[in-house]
């Protein structure tokens, strides 16, 4: 994931959505059929997003801890910038 010094957006999606709800879970993958000793924590996120027509969809994805920390850091940057605008 990129962490750029300059905020930039080259939007590839065509529709902007509103975030209606953000649910999260901190999980620990212990073991799997291909690796008996996985032992890695992850953050699973469920976003409820509403498009311009009001239709709500669920989107879920997972992040590793470093990915989450980057996400959090970027969001703090957004918060800092939006205050000054």
């Amino acid at each position: 994931m990129e962490g750029c010094s300059e905020p930039r957006l080259d939007a590839k999606s065509e529709v902007t959505n509103q975030l209606v709800d953000f649910q999260w879970k901190l999980g620990m993958a212990v073991s799997s059929d291909s690796c008996r000793s996985l032992k890695y924590p992850y953050v699973a996120v469920l976003l409820k997003v509403a498009d311009h027509s009001g239709q709500v969809k669920n989107k879920c994805f997972e992040m590793t801890i470093p990915q989450f920390q980057n996400f959090y850091r970027q969001f703090k940057e957004i918060a800092a910038v939006i205050e000054t605008v």
Partner: protein, 188 residues
């Protein structure tokens, strides 16, 4: 056993080939390809069990995510076994694991993630001077684009809009996640 199999020169290449197939999802690395490239003097009948042995060793090491103490103990035991490995071969395997451990582990983690992952994130803050719904002036808005996708599939791009209030609300939730992580990471 063919003398070539007891050597260790081609073993590094063999382990790379095995890793490509077992962990990095590279299709088309057949027994015959490995044999003809790395052990051309050895017959397929002799090569097969040797390959199976090395594959088994590599999978055991990766599956247990061995640290270097465990690795040493494991490889030493393999050298003492009937039909095991030579100490030169153990050294090659050890070096291979040290160089590839992180990458193989990452690959195994990705293999066990069946939900979408976050592939990219970009954002922008706009100062909105007018809104479609009301005559608000100077309402800043943050636009965030998330790139998410499942392993081996094309990305989906999700674009989200946040006003200051929503940014603040989400920030609070994210700090709760961070707190949970800190609690988890604390030594027991």
């Amino acid at each position: 056993m063919a003398a070539e199999l007891e050597g260790s020169k081609a073993l590094g290449g063999l382990l790379s080939g095995l890793a490509q197939e077992a962990f990095y999802g590279h299709q088309g690395i057949t027994e015959e390809l490995l044999r003809s490239q790395l052990y051309p003097e050895v017959s397929l009948e002799e090569f097969r069990p040797f390959l199976a042995k090395m594959r088994g060793i590599l999978k055991s090491i990766a599956s247990a995510d061995m640290d270097f103490n465990q690795l040493e103990a494991f490889l030493t035991a393999q050298t003492k076994k009937q039909g095991g490995i030579t100490s030169d071969q153990a050294a090659v395997i050890s070096k291979f694991w040290k160089n590839h451990k992180t990458k193989i582990r990452e690959s195994l983690m990705n293999q066990s993630r069946w939900d979408s992952g976050l592939r990219g994130l970009s954002w922008r803050v706009d100062g909105k001077s007018q809104s479609r719904h009301s005559a608000q002036i100077h309402t800043p808005v943050a636009i965030m684009e998330l790139e998410i996708g499942k392993s081996g599939q094309e990305s989906e791009f999700l674009c989200l809009e946040f006003d200051e209030v929503k940014v603040s609300q989400l920030l609070k939730k994210l700090s709760e996640v961070e707190e949970s992580i800190s609690t988890l990471m604390q030594p027991a």
